[in-house]
């Protein structure tokens, strides 16, 4: 009997299982963003690690992150100070974060998994190189070569990677080179649409960093950060508030803004503009990194209790919530950083404010249908202002409109071949007219010819 109880049922995971598990739920794009996050964390630390608020004007223009993607190789390099040898030995390559580990304050990396997960997702032959300033001020360089196939095949218990000496380079920073790309990476990097969409994602998700001068290049092209802007005028002013909250005893600062970014659509019919309302909805940033963009789903709260589902009529609205915390674990981040953790307390209390703000906008879009001309005139008078310049204001202000009864409308719907529609649009003066606009103009034209003034 004692023989049996002395035995243990083996539960240690195999490397292969572990690698499959950590890579299966993350997309290629998010893996690449994870690597960018690490570079940005290093830059932010160099810049003095503090909360990124909208008002903060940290200069990141000395830092540059460069990515190259081809069907044969992926590289990312930065000049953000490099990873120290101690960090490499103790933390950077271990899977997960030790409780005892010192935190990087106000960082975006949370779980101590990003870099490993990313390189496993990308390829089989990896070299991580780092150059940092040693204690005596002179440059120190090392490299961690990872042959994934050999590492997986080695069943001995240690999961460690070897560290080797490396050539000295001109800059302090990290370079990651991935060869023998995985099939999905190879296919994606040969796809111009993937590369362009990655650029768009970077422009959007790091817009707050890019706005502070950080340079990111993808394949020789410098990314220009997306501008988040809200419209202001006598009639329109966005809401901008800030407050403190607690998550598991840790303090989190929150800034919230929202208002009109563009006039709502005249028509709510699904029309030919394929990206008509792509940029509207709610945005959430955690320590400066945008983790949810233009959300129109229940994750922001649309269609949940007391908050209507997103409708095209509401297009034109943008709301932004920025969470910052010295301890990243207090932020409402998911592991892929592509969404927010809806169970987070700080997020749930923010959602109530997000809902109330959204509902004011919804009411306005309902009201404007009865005073469309007046509303359009007032909307056109508003000018776009970068979010950092929006004035602090406890509530959103929208114009009050003189609502008039409108004559009962007739809605028209019919189909014609797209080529003929485009030809008519061109003849009417603009090849990009919406189908609806072509319809309205041809109605007006025919009406004028056949009916004329009554």
């Amino acid at each position: 009997m004692s023989d049996i109880t002395a035995k243990k049922a083996k539960a240690s995971p195999t490397k292969e299982f572990f690698v499959n598990m950590i890579t299966r739920d993350i997309t290629l794009e998010d893996s690449i963003l994870d690597l960018i996050d690490n570079s940005i964390d290093a830059a932010w630390q160099m810049a003095g690690s503090h909360a990124m608020t909208l008002g903060d004007d940290t200069d990141l223009s000395a830092f540059k992150i460069t990515l190259t993607l081809s069907e044969d190789q992926f590289t990312i390099s930065d000049n953000c100070g490099g990873m120290t040898l101690d960090n490499a030995v103790d933390h950077a390559f271990s899977f997960g974060r030790k409780a005892s580990q010192e935190r990087e304050e106000f960082s975006i990396g949370v779980y101590g998994i990003g870099m490993k997960r990313a390189v496993f997702k990308l390829g089989k032959n990896v070299r991580v190189r780092s150059q940092f300033r040693g204690d005596n001020g002179s440059p120190l360089s090392f490299a961690v070569p990872i042959n994934v196939t050999d590492w997986l095949a080695d069943e001995r218990p240690s999961w460690d990677f070897d560290i080797v000496e490396d050539d000295v380079r001109s800059e302090y920073g990290v370079v990651i080179i991935v060869n023998e790309l995985t099939w999905p990476a190879k296919t994606a990097f040969g796809n111009p649409a993937f590369v362009e969409n990655l650029r768009r994602m970077i422009a959007r998700d790091y817009s707050l960093h890019l706005g502070r001068g950080l340079k990111i290049e993808v394949g020789d092209e410098q990314i220009i950060g997306a501008n988040l802007e809200l419209a202001m005028s006598e009639d329109f002013s966005p809401m901008r508030i800030s407050y403190e909250d607690k998550q598991d005893g840790e303090s989190v600062s929150i800034e919230m803004l929202g208002g009109m970014a563009a006039p709502p659509p005249d028509s709510v019919e699904p029309d030919d503009r394929f990206d008509g309302d792509k940029r509207f909805g709610w945005y959430v940033a955690c320590n400066g990194r945008i983790v949810m963009a233009a959300d129109k789903s229940s994750i922001a709260g649309w269609g949940t209790k007391d908050w209507p589902q997103w409708h095209r009529q509401y297009a034109g609205f943008i709301g932004i919530v920025l969470f910052s915390a010295s301890n990243t674990a207090a932020l409402p981040l998911t592991t892929t950083k592509r969404s927010v953790d809806q169970s987070s307390d700080v997020y749930r209390s923010a959602q109530l404010k997000m809902r109330d703000l959204s509902k004011v906008w919804i009411a306005y879009t309902n009201q404007r249908k009865q005073a469309l001309e007046e509303a359009k005139r007032k909307e056109a008078a508003a000018r776009a202002v970068p979010i950092s310049l929006v004035e602090v204001k406890p509530a959103i202000a929208l114009p009050s409109l003189n609502v008039q009864r409108v004559e009962r409308p007739a809605n028209v719907h019919y189909s014609v071949p797209v080529q003929r529609m485009k030809r008519l649009a061109r003849a009417l003066g603009n090849i990009n007219l919406t189908y609806r606009e072509v319809g309205v103009r041809s109605f007006e034209y025919t009406y004028d010819d056949f009916v004329g003034d009554e």
Binding site: G190, E196, Q419, R426, N430
Partner: protein
């Protein structure tokens, strides 16, 4: 107006040069990959010039031409140059799905050339998607379209129109300058290639689209021909090597704008070639006539492909 009513194909020297370059390029690739038993699918019109080259240069027997117009269909059947040319009545959009489902040909490599006179539009976009997603492995796919500015709206509207046509591959900040003559034609050619690549990469197929052809030529309006192969994984590198080689002629940097020469002029120039030194204007003047420098350069570069009028046979 149907294209055969608009113009006599044999009088377009730049188009003729372009066609020769393309078929020679395909021949090299077919030899390198040892492809045989191919099928040619095209828009033969009533001239079938490309069909003649497909048969002569590529040794292709099974050839299918699509013709939408009633009278054009009757004339095409009458003019079909070989016994193995089949003319199908219908638009490419209606006919291609039938051909792709035809078990007699859908396991063999195709050479598909959708040679249009009009601009890139939604119809061509749908055809490109259909072909790139479904054509058999190791097929060659080419499109030709009109790159004249006004096919794409006026200057202000053009970047947005181009985004509508080519989708995600077009950067959000596409400049107006890139959408104007002379850059527009290269802009369109680049996006058309990117579009083909991205359709192949996002589809479920294992073949990648490897681009091999990018030619701008001009007889009247500027025309763009782009294309490549749906390459099985083991053939990708062979195709890239061949098309990246210095002797590869299907990606010329300059627009092919061939001079319209009389037979006598063409023969006089030809008699001076090949020559170690480039032909210059003095040489031409000494021969008794005159041409612009650009015309002389283009002729010298492509004199072997310049149409010989005796060859016109349809």
């Amino acid at each position: 107006m149907a294209s055969f009513d608009a113009v006599n194909y044999s009088l377009r020297p730049s188009k003729a040069i372009q066609r020769q370059l393309v078929f020679e390029g395909i021949r090299k690739l077919h030899e390198r990959l040892r492809l045989s038993d191919s099928v040619y699918v095209g828009l033969g019109s009533v001239w079938f010039t490309d069909f003649v080259l497909a048969h002569e240069i590529l040794n292709i027997n099974d050839m299918i031409s699509m013709e939408v117009d009633d009278i054009g269909f009757a004339r095409a059947k009458f003019n079909a140059p070989y016994a193995t040319v089949q003319v199908r009545k219908g638009s490419s959009t209606d006919t291609l799905p039938e051909l792709l489902a035809d078990r007699y040909i859908n396991k063999r490599p195709w050479v598909v050339w959708l040679d249009y006179d009009g601009g890139f539009d939604e119809g061509l976009m749908d055809d490109v998607k259909l072909i790139v997603e479904n054509v058999p492995s190791n097929s060659t796919f080419l499109i030709t379209f009109n790159a004249h500015e006004m096919n794409y709206g006026n200057a202000k509207e053009r970047p947005e129109r181009i985004r509508q046509l080519f989708g995600d591959t077009v950067p959000d900040n596409l400049s107006k300058k890139k959408c104007k003559t002379p850059r527009l034609r290269h802009t369109l050619a680049g996006f058309a290639v990117d579009f083909m690549k991205s359709v192949a990469a996002t589809g479920r197929r294992k073949e990648a689209f490897v681009d091999t052809v990018q030619i701008v030529y001009q007889d009247g309006a500027p025309m763009v021909t782009v294309g490549g192969m749906l390459a099985a994984p083991e053939t990708v590198n062979k195709i890239r090597d061949a098309a990246g080689n210095a002797g590869w002629r299907c990606r010329p940097e300059r627009v092919i704008r061939a001079p319209h020469l009389t037979i006598r002029e063409a023969l006089a120039l030809q008699a001076m070639l090949p020559s170690e030194d480039s032909l210059n204007r003095d040489n031409v003047q000494e021969a008794g006539f005159d041409l612009k420098v650009e015309q002389i350069e283009i002729y010298e570069e492509y004199y072997r492909e310049y149409p010989k009028f005796a060859e016109v046979r349809t």
